[in-house]
């Protein structure tokens, strides 16, 4: 099993060092109308370039644009679809992070590519392949308020969000994206809806072309769904190990035909994992995982950490991988 290092999704957009707060200042200036959108965009692009290089310098094989342009994981995509307006703030799972809630007022429809330009511009400045992350249709549906009488229930809403994501994934694959991650954290809180997510992923997978599709779950215990997820039409499954004490033993016992994104580095806590505590867990699972390449990553996006700690976490991932392939401990 080949093991690649991949950033999960988000990355801290500002830091405490001189120069790392320019996006925060620009955001405020843009809101007050003191700088034009063009100038704001220039600053966003420069921050993306900086953090893409930061990830590469830590030793990652696959980087992300850090979702620097995203207000949050829900409204960025949903808010750019026809039929959706954006409402007030809502807590995102058990974090201290807040998203803006979509309100579905009419039939949901995809108007054109939302993330393709973001992908292209990040890839243009990245020395490494850029992984694209989208929040999945089920989680988008769970965070939405239905006001339109067109939708009688959640499955109908998820079906139309799926339609939009199918078109977006097709456009991303056509633009050259090689690894597309679909985040579905909500399914862990509603395991009875796994069938709904499976249908959605099958439809999205039909448009992925030659790209690999990775289904990521986090912020809950995935162990009860592990065997069901193995039957999903995706190339890889991404797991948050911080909520699942028994997950590594389960994978070591049952194995995996699919590639795994091992979220063994805690994206929610600043404590640094030691190589010697991560390595045995990784090794016992890797021996039973057929899917290749698999990925070493964090349990969730890194935006829940301060920038300096996020960077050290990435470097620690590289140290674990080095030990895994025999260039360090172990």
């Amino acid at each position: 099993m080949e093991l690649l290092l991949a950033n999960h999704s988000s990355y801290p957009r500002i830091g405490d060092q001189a120069g790392q707060q320019r996006l925060r200042r620009a955001y405020a200036q843009h809101e007050r109308g003191e700088i034009a959108s063009q100038e704001f965009e220039k600053i966003q692009t420069s921050v993306i370039q900086e953090i893409v290089q930061e990830q590469a310098s830590a030793g990652l094989d696959l980087v992300t644009d850090g979702q620097i342009r995203w207000y949050d994981p829900i409204s960025h995509f949903a808010g750019r679809l026809d039929g959706v307006k954006i409402n007030g703030l809502l807590r995102f799972f058990d974090t201290n992070f807040y998203i803006r809630q979509p309100v579905v007022i009419d039939r949901i429809a995809w108007k054109g590519p939302i993330l393709v330009e973001e992908y292209r511009s990040a890839q243009a400045v990245s020395p490494k392949p850029v992984k694209v992350t989208l929040t999945g249709p089920y989680t988008l549906g769970r965070f939405s308020i239905i006001e339109s009488p067109r939708y009688r229930d959640l499955p109908e809403l998820v079906a139309d969000y799926t339609e939009a994501l199918m078109k977006e994934v097709e456009a991303l694959a056509a633009a050259g994206a090689t690894l597309i991650q679909i985040d579905e954290p909500s399914v862990l809180h509603h395991p009875g809806d796994a069938g709904l997510v499976k249908v959605a992923l099958t439809r999205i997978g039909s448009r992925k072309g030659s790209a690999r599709l990775l289904l990521a779950t986090y912020f809950g215990d995935v162990a009860p769904l592990y065997e069901i997820l193995q039957g999903f039409a995706v190339d890889a499954l991404g797991f948050d190990f911080t909520y699942s004490r028994g997950l590594s033993d389960l994978i070591a016992r049952l194995g995996s035909d699919k590639a795994i994104a091992f979220g063994l580095i805690d994206g929610r806590n600043t404590r640094m994992e030691r190589t010697e505590e991560v390595l045995p867990t990784l090794r016992k699972m890797a021996a039973k995982v057929e899917g290749s390449p698999s990925y070493l990553t964090s349990s969730c996006g890194l935006e829940y950490l301060p920038r300096d700690k996020a960077y050290v976490k990435l470097k620690q991932m590289a140290a674990v991988r080095a030990a895994f392939v025999g260039r360090g401990l172990g």
């Binding site: 801290p12 957009r13 500002i14 830091g15 405490d16 925060r24 955001y27 405020a28 809101e31 207000y71 949050d72 703030l89 807590r91 058990d94 201290n96 992070f97 807040y98 998203i99 806590n269 600043t270 404590r271 640094m272 935006e303 829940y304 950490l305 301060p306 920038r307 300096d308 700690k309």
Partner: protein
């Protein structure tokens, strides 16, 4: 039952006792002074004088409005967790972390064994209580919320961090009781974010409150209240303060299933809205609660701290809340 406890503590309150959740908006002069201190343009002593001035303003204002149980208004606090973590040994402050939009904050990190540095809130409670004959609540943030809103690099897991904090926070509660506080509110807004952790959150609150002679209120924001309601009845406190001003939950059904056994502070003002609720709106919200619980069990307050409102909005909301309560008291012949 809780009225008996209050009486045994020497506190007599009218029917429908009125209070607030804790924080009030800071006057402009205090906001400016805090910014100046951050830039080292004034001395801490100068800021503290203004914090006392603002506390006195709010004590006076609460008396004028007619509230029964007062708060110090938290003029000395920035954030409800940071205030404690900046004083307690064992914490460091992290670099900036985003909460939403362009808002960032320094999140505390537990880096060593946590400790109690000596009284953190007692001086402010004593000062506020010295300004009024009405009871002033002792106010502190609970161990579960301090744990949940901090990174943890020291303790092996969340439970042990929470219980260690509980042991130190109890010492603050003991100091408040020793100073004379009879009503103590523990703020636990994070309480319902991980229902599976409620058992150790309850264990922690036992550590904080067991055996201490005070009437305890716990303030918890809504969260997954429907899934944790029956467990919340096990919290070792006398009064649950819940935001039910715009609840869509079927409380009636939940209370029928598991009868409510404590006093309930009914959060009847929406602190996130600029709108000043009319006395009729407030009265209707209390009447909704009266369908569920006997009048002797109800306290009336806003659904959270009022610090994000303007001073005029906060006063306007509270004036109308008291107008509604006076009518309710008249209706039950208690005026």
């Amino acid at each position: 039952m809780s009225r008996t406890k209050l009486k045994s503590l020497g506190i007599e309150l009218p029917i429908f006792p009125t209070s607030t959740v804790g924080s009030f908006p800071k006057p402009d002069y205090l906001v400016e002074a805090r910014a100046k201190l951050a830039k080292e343009k004034i001395e801490r002593k100068e800021l503290e004088d203004l914090e006392r001035q603002a506390t006195a303003f709010w004590i006076r204002t609460q008396e004028e409005i007619g509230l029964d149980v007062l708060v110090d208004g938290e003029m000395y606090r920035g954030d409800m967790v940071a205030y404690f973590s900046e004083l307690m040994p064992g914490f460091e402050q992290s670099g900036l972390v985003r909460s939403y939009g362009n808002r960032y904050y320094h999140k505390p990190i537990i880096v060593a064994e946590v400790g109690w540095p000596g009284p953190m809130t007692v001086g402010w409670w004593r000062y506020a209580q010295g300004l009024t004959k009405r009871p002033v609540k002792g106010m502190l943030t609970g161990p579960y919320t301090v744990m949940d809103w901090s990174f943890n690099e020291h303790y092996p897991d969340r439970r042990s961090a929470c219980l260690a904090l509980a042991r130190e926070i109890r010492r603050e509660v003991e100091a408040l009781v020793e100073a004379g506080a009879k009503i103590i509110q523990i703020d636990e807004p994070a309480l319902s974010v991980r229902p599976e952790e409620l058992p150790f959150a309850i264990e922690a609150l036992h550590i904080v409150t067991d055996g201490l002679p005070a009437y305890f209120i716990i303030h918890a924001c809504y969260g997954a209240f429907d899934t944790i309601y029956s467990q919340m009845l096990k919290l070792p406190v006398d009064n649950l303060d819940l935001a039910i001003s715009h609840s869509t939950l079927n409380l009636m059904e939940m209370f029928r299933r598991d009868p409510f056994t404590k006093d309930l502070s009914v959060g009847v003002l929406d602190v996130h809205s600029h709108e000043v609720e009319t006395p009729e709106t407030v009265k209707a919200r209390v009447e909704k609660a009266l369908q569920l619980l006997p009048k002797e069990s109800l306290w009336i307050d806003p659904d959270c701290g009022l610090k994000t409102r303007t001073i005029d909005e906060a006063k306007g909301k509270l004036i109308n809340m008291l107008a509604a309560v006076r009518r309710l008291r008249a209706e039950v012949g208690a005026n």
